[in-house]
Amino acid sequence: MNKVLKKVRGRNIKSNFKQFLSVIFIVLLATMLFSGFMTNSFTLKSCVDNYFTETNLADLWVNTDKVSTEDEAFFEANTTKFDKRLQFETIAEIETLKINSSASIYVYEGKVSTPYIESGKKGCLIDKNVAKDQKIQAGFHDISFSYVVNYQGTDYTLDFVERLTGTMSLDERANTYNSWTVVIDKELFLERVKEKLAEKVVGFDENLFEGIAYNQVLVKTDDAMQTSTTIKNYYDSGATLSKLVYMHGREEVESVKLLNEEVEQSQKMIYVFPIIFLVVAVLIILTTIDQLIVQEQKKIGILKACGIPNKKILKHYSFYGAILCTIGAGLGVLFGLVLIPEVMFSRYGMIYSIPEDYIKLQIPVWWLVALTISMIVLGFIVAFVRCYKILNKNPIDCLRYNLTASAKKLKKRKKKFKKMPISLKMAFRNIKMKPLRLVMGAVGMAGCVALLLSGFGIGDTLSKSLKNDLGKVFDYDISSTYNKSDFKEKLLGDERIEFVEDYSRVYATLSVDLESDKVYVYQIAENSKIFKEQLTGDNVCISKTIADKFGLEVGDSISVSLKDKSVKLVISSTIETSFKNGVFVCKDLEFEETFVSKGVWINTKESADSEKVAEFVNEINGTNTALTIEEEKENVKGRIMSTSTMTKTIKVFGIMLAVIVLLNFIFLILKERTIEIATLKVIGQNSLQISIAVFIEVFIMAGIGMILGMVLGVPLMILILTVNKIELLNYIISIKFVSFLATFFIILITIFAVLFVCYLKIKKVNMAESLKSVE
């Protein structure tokens, strides 16, 4: 008996292959996303942890005016490990490529925050992403920059031209976007300085040279809080002549912050989108498996009539649910953990400089096992419950099952529907006969539409957020930073430029009572033509995001400090910004110039091509960067790549799920109505005429799903954005009418594509085969 049942099972799988395949696909998609995002999250966390551990990321950054011998002795005694470092910002050029940019040069041994050498060797290392983007080759290209050295009380500006020896990733500068990081070995630099001094200073005596003035100490410690207090006490005690400028921990290092935020976001991602997807998928699985078993009712009746025990029949049919979910979940888990982290890490690789050695796939085995088992159990239970219900009937009732049985719900027709076209009547009555299928189908479609719409909505939100800052709050054509005073004169000489407005920006500490955080402080011209909010005198405008974070209102006082200078300000207005968050003032806060980035906003004449003007600005000697507003938008988009990736994934999976839901719905209908279709063909109706009733049914189902999905899409988008909120960006929630239209048309095209498949299937129905008599 078991052998025969196994054969029946095998043949059933063959005959219901398409429905089975759609269940497998739905389970696959749902588990794939879940397992993929989960594996990605675990892998990213382990990668970031590994990265920071293996490279000995510092716990404290102590910035001083000069690191003295006494200081070194102090750090030796009070820290686990330390490394003194010279850090300076300069304009670096790679002459062969005619590239110049503001670069951060680090000169140190590398005991703490060790640069990870990706290629080449120690000496003069450049960030691997910069090297890749700018097509810089280590061992081939030279980097040139200037540095001021003091010898015997006189400052000498030394010009260095150094051959790049390799590429590297530096943990504390992992977010290399638009920033050049160069690490030079301490010994090599010292040697070069001596050489340059010898060239420049007649009678240079090496013994009189005091060496490089290191200005930073990187500290490794088990207790950052305690150690920072000890360090502060040391500098305050007068035991050293050096002066503590600024000390911070890992929380203020942007790349550490961003990478940790990525990890956090990747964890959150699991609990929103894949879970919603999983819920939609589960609903579809429930209907499909349920319908599959219902279609087997006659066979169940036969088995029952043959005297096969209920237990065996239950086991036999529950197997379907379980096996489909096993295959789907197995493949989904496998594809998920292979594909999704691969895609996500290629994206991370564009934003962060992460050594590939630390990217090791971390499979959350128990989670994935639990996920697979849940799906198997789900499939088993659905099939079991439905089969159990059928088994409660008499065998003869099971054997009598056909469409006519469901049609018993239909009673004598009402006169008012007499004039309705026959296809419409058929569609409505089919729905009346199987309302649950329509409801489940509509719920599935609603899920797909909601996912797609939320994908578009997230795109709109990002675009609105960008447009708000770049176009509304700040209305310029080109923004440029510079390092030479005659830069502006050269700029104003160009007739394509309408006007130029100065601004400066500084990364300072905002303090309110006991709370503090690093923010950008923008100094803007009075009655600026660029900045939306008109500032005069002591007016201070603050981004709404920052105001909300600190619970600030107009009239509240804030303190902004940089190094040893602190300024008290009173908020006069707030402004909604998305990523250009900060404090906006028009008076000079007189912060130390070294830390102030100077720039201009340029508006071009209407007839001028901004891109060409930006090219011209870039060529001016003294320009750091010049970007059109569109390029700047692209840069920001690059920084929020994981959110964009998520948006795209949502859209793609939404469409895929819609295709499966629709195909599944159609396959179920066609399987059930083959005889009807064949009969209609025999009567002389053509395939298109026959298809219309099915089309109407699909449209009604999809229409309900579409309306529901459009309504649910907006809260879903808000939910996704709220859960995935990142500090970098304040989302200005928006969804355009065109997104609703796009969602509508994409779903409509999907429906038409699937209906075409349906039409072909109807065309293929073999009349003779389907209508065979029983002899």
Partner: protein
């Protein structure tokens, strides 16, 4: 090249000529459902095809009715070789020329009796309600198939076939799912329709009793016509036991 138009030669409207028709199944055409079958059917004939299971009688019915294609040979109706018709014209042939009656009625469960008949209505022919009247079911016009007995359902199916006044009426085991009393009623209905002598009625059955009412009996075995007998004095339906 498939024909895209269905134009009948009025001189031959009354006959179907099956010439050397074969129908093979299987990857290597190892199953010969029909093997070089030739016959001619004429208007007014009530033909019964007898044969064992798998003999090829239903296949013959299907290829005449345009439900299935042939592997070889031709089928001519009113001067048109229907094996040469395109899909679209084949549908037209089924709609305008052929009426089918099945063993299991094959009514649309979601349409009422009247609507089921309306499905096959043709302009200029009988109205669906008149067809239902003809089978004595006008009072059940608004009932769904699930509300009708087997015999009633088969009568609706006959009305559906009748409504378009087909030239050929093909019945595949029309009494197979009915009790003998109802079966007799259905055969009587078919014989009554034959009184007008305006169509070819072909009944496929394994029940030899029905053959006693026919005016022509074909016997098929292994895909070949083994006997073709014309009955000069067919019995009345009341005289036979189904």
């Amino acid at each position: 090249m498939k024909k895209e138009q269905l134009i009948f030669d009025e001189r031959y409207v009354g006959s179907v000529a099956v010439e050397h028709v074969s129908k093979f199944y299987g990857e290597n055409f190892e199953v010969k459902a029909l093997n070089n079958v030739s016959l001619q059917l004429f208007t007014g004939q009530f033909v019964v095809i007898l044969g064992a299971s798998g003999s090829g009688k239903s296949t013959l019915l299907n290829v005449i009715g345009g439900m299935d294609t042939v592997s070889a040979g031709s089928i001519n109706f009113a001067g048109v070789d229907i094996t040469e018709l395109s899909d679209k014209i084949f549908s037209q042939y089924r709609r305008e020329v052929v009426g089918f009656i099945f063993q299991f009625y094959n009514l649309m469960p979601n349409l009422t009796a009247l609507e089921n008949v309306e499905l096959a209505e043709l302009p200029g022919e009988m109205l669906a309600i008149d067809a239902l009247k003809a089978v004595g079911l006008e009072d059940k016009a608004d009932s769904f198939p699930s509300e009708l007995s087997g015999g009633e359902q088969q009568r609706v199916a006959i009305a559906r076939a009748l409504v378009k006044n087909p030239k050929i009426l093909l019945c595949d085991e029309p009494t197979g799912a009915l009790d003998s009393k109802t079966g007799k009623m259905i055969i009587k209905l078919l014989m009554d329709m034959n009184k007008k002598k305006d169509k070819i009625i072909v009944v496929v059955t394994h029940n030899s009793a029905i053959a006693e009412c026919a005016d022509r009996v074909l016997k098929i075995s292994d895909g070949k016509i083994v006997s073709d007998e014309t009955i000069k004095n067919p019995k009345s339906i009341e005289d036979i036991e189904l």
